[in-house]
């Protein structure tokens, strides 16, 4: 314990050197830990929301965008598709499809997405109600647990939707019938926690599909080429109820989430067949996610390499500072020998300094990583509506700390060996 204290005193005696070493070790450890944490949280979030969905059908465009918008609600949809075209997949009794869930996107409430769908959405994500009842009629809403908590929604709460995903007072559907909250979901850890679920008809009632696509509204600005509903918009609006009565061929939805009964060559070929023979686009979430992980993997890999380089620099810094200090500490080491300490004690003393530096640096790095995730999480939550909790701890972080400590000890090994070999008589004679 005394040697630990002595090592610590030596370290704090050179605050500039100590700070430099800790910054280098902390930065490298923090960067690796942050990459580990972020990757884990992202893949957890993405995998948890797969919900067994085998295929997403929507408008032509980027398949990754279709998946991200339809399943994760973190991108704008590729556009709308006609309900008539989608009916082929939505009707019960399809020989290959077990579940098909329609989604109508385009509106939000205070930045949280309103999703027009039906009861099958609740089944797909195995969602249970914490309070109230499921939606039954148009304009009824079941709120996700997180959105309900953050917006203070309760059973009977009413609100009006806004065009697009950004909260903008000018884009509120003031003239439309308000949505009424009838149920609040239990937390599921899925995307449903941050959604407001309502029957598809609600979206049609608010928007109608008389000449503009409501999914496109998400990327629209108030000054955009698409128009905004209002008393001065220059044409007559049919009553909202009338939209619901519009013929099927005039109605649109945004996408369909599909789960197959079985996976065979027919289901394997279905996306290609849809893409080649219809105006629709079919995308496989598994394939698109793999593509996304591949894209992310390059960035993650680069960050890891960068962290490794910093860690090597940190190791060199420990080595240089300990080795460099040996010359000026030679007399101190000889003094310790004169006072009765053994060469092994000196070896342990220097090794402990390397260990302490690495350990403190590693702890600092982990704290930095969590603080960074907390800050970034706050930003990402505002952007994506996904929570990135900073209190998630991974076993890999312990491994990382262990590796950093071993690294520090290795860097101190040669200086410690040199300290062990200090010639007392020669040093004292030169002194």
């Amino acid at each position: 314990m005394y040697s630990l204290w002595l090592s610590w005193k030596h370290l704090v005696h050179k605050p500039a050197q100590l700070t430099l070493n800790l910054v280098l070790i902390g930065l490298s450890t923090g960067l690796i830990a942050a990459v580990l944490l972020f990757s884990r949280m992202l893949t957890d979030r993405l995998d948890r929301n797969l919900a067994g969905v085998d295929m997403v059908i929507g408008a032509k465009g980027s398949p990754l965008q279709l998946v991200l918008a339809g399943m994760y609600h973190i991108d704008v949809p590729t556009g709308n598709i006609s309900l008539e075209e989608a009916q082929a997949f939505l009707r019960p009794g399809h020989p290959l499809i077990a579940t098909a869930v329609p989604l109508s996107l385009g509106d939000s409430h205070k930045g949280y997405r309103i999703v027009g769908t039906d009861a099958r959405f609740l089944e797909l994500y195995q969602l249970a109600l914490a309070d109230g009842k499921p939606f039954e009629k148009p304009m009824e809403v079941v709120a996700g647990s997180r959105v309900a908590r953050l917006l203070g929604l309760k059973i009977g709460s009413t609100f009006q939707s806004t065009h697009g995903l950004d909260h903008n007072e000018d884009l509120i559907h003031e003239e439309s019938q308000p949505f009424v909250v009838t149920g609040i979901l239990e937390p599921s850890g899925t995307v449903a926690d941050q959604l407001l679920l309502t029957p598809t008809e609600s979206v049609w009632m608010v928007h109608g599909d008389h000449g503009h696509s409501h999914a496109d509204m998400e990327s629209m600005t108030p000054e955009g080429e698409d128009h905004v509903h209002g008393p001065d918009c220059g044409h007559d609006h049919p009553a909202h109820e009338e939209h619901a009565e519009e013929p099927t061929e005039a109605r649109e939805i945004t996408s369909v989430l599909i789960r197959f009964k079985v996976r065979n060559h027919l289901t394997l070929n279905m996306p290609r067949s849809i893409n080649e023979n219809t105006n629709l686009q079919a995308a496989s979430p598994a394939i698109e996610l793999n593509r996304l992980y591949g894209l992310m993997g390059t960035g993650v890999s680069m960050l890891r390499w960068l962290a490794m380089v910093i860690m090597v620099a940190a190791g060199l810094s420990i080595f240089v500072s300990l080795y460099g200090s040996l010359k000026e500490r030679r007399y101190e080491l000889a003094l310790l020998r004169v006072m009765g300490s053994t060469p092994t004690y000196l070896f342990r003393l220097i090794l402990t300094e390397g260990l302490l530096l690495a350990l403190i640096g590693a702890v600092l790095g982990i704290v930095l990583a969590h603080a960074g995730i907390s800050l970034a999480g706050h930003y990402l939550e505002q952007e994506w509506r996904y929570a990135f909790p900073a209190d998630l701890f991974l076993v890999q972080e312990l491994w990382l700390m262990g590796i950093v400590v071993v690294f520090g000890v290795l860097a101190a090994l040669l200086p410690a060996w040199q300290a062990r070999k200090v010639d007392i008589a020669q040093t004292l004679t030169e002194g």
Partner: protein
Amino acid sequence: MIETRDLTFSYPGGILLRFPDFRCRPEEQWLIWGESGSGKTTFLHLLAGIRTPASGQVIIRDQDITSLSPRKLDAFRGRHIGLVFQTPHFIDALTIRQNVVLACKMSGHSISQGEVDTWLNRLGIGHRADALPFRCSQGEQQRASIVRALVHRPALLLADEPTSALDDRHCDEVVRLLQEQTRQSRTALVIVTHDQRLRNHFPNALTLTSHVQPLA
């Protein structure tokens, strides 16, 4: 009792130093004289067990330290021998008080805060107890190094040229302190020096001449 018998030391270049036998009773105070190259410092290092003789014995408190294993020799040195150098050196990261405590810890002695303060006050540096060594004057550092060498009450205090760099006033003061404190601690004192000013302060003196011969 401190005693050396037939002590020789060989340098790497094939030079052999032969030392006269030396006996020092407990509480005696000795000067070891010699010109440069006579082997004074080497003799002191042999007494302290930090050099290994080519032959002969160094007996301190009935223990021939040349027969001890390195580990036991380190422990013996820490426990029974104190050293004072021409230029006082300290562990720079520790205060004067912590340096004194360190000497006790290393020698396996326990010491209370009060005892440390008593020692430091006795040598007039109590007010510098919590100062880092580099903030103390040369004189304060030399006094602190005497405290550190004596605080664990060793059998033998070895001082290597403790006054060579000091003016007359400080020279007298250091010699007085060394003599007083070793007497009070019942510690034998051996000073190795070529400083003529010390000649009249010590009744016992051993002069080293160059008993140098090439190795056969």
